[in-house]
Assembly symmetry: C2
Homo-oligomer: 69 residues x 2
DNA sequence: AAAAAATGTAAAACAGTCTTGACATTTCCG
DNA sequence: CGGAAATGTCAAGACTGTTTTACATTTTTT
């Protein structure tokens, strides 16, 4: 397993969301958003796609393998 | 949990791969590819991104929520 | 400086992802 | 037809993702 890099925190802040409000829009817990922002683990594919849709960026631009840019 | 729809089988066949050869290129087991093609469960985000990179299509075009096209 | 809001963190429980090994069925081709 | 290759499927086990509850720390606001 590899924990992916992500730019979730900046995507969320651009929306003016807190972790709690962002989590609520996605239907997940605040702790889940916190853990993903801090790269404790990867989201499920389903959650990643919901995040992508919410912030309007392709999945691969939000989450990427450490070796890639 | 929602099992996503996907067009993995056609993506794989376009490459002329068998489930076994496709799995090997991705570093996972043949059973994993079989289960995903048959929508038994979703791949991890990491695997979805590797698949996307291998077949050259964005994640969201390979895997999508049932309600979406 | 004090109160309130936001973020970090941890444990337990449960659901989901992936592996290996094994065997059955289907498809492809001499 | 007969054999080989490809696909389907199952079970057990290891590890990953998410929830809830609870509390500590940091940041923002008054």
């Amino acid at each position: 397993m590899t924990v992916l890099k992500n730019k979730l925190r900046s995507c969320r802040k651009e929306r003016g969301d807190t972790q709690a409000s962002f989590a609520e829009e996605l239907g997940v817990s605040r702790q889940t958003i916190n853990a993903i922002e801090n790269e404790k683990y990867n989201p499920s594919l389903e959650l990643a796609i919901k995040i992508s849709r919410l912030v309007g960026e392709p999945v691969q631009e939000i989450f990427y393998l450490p070796k890639e840019g």
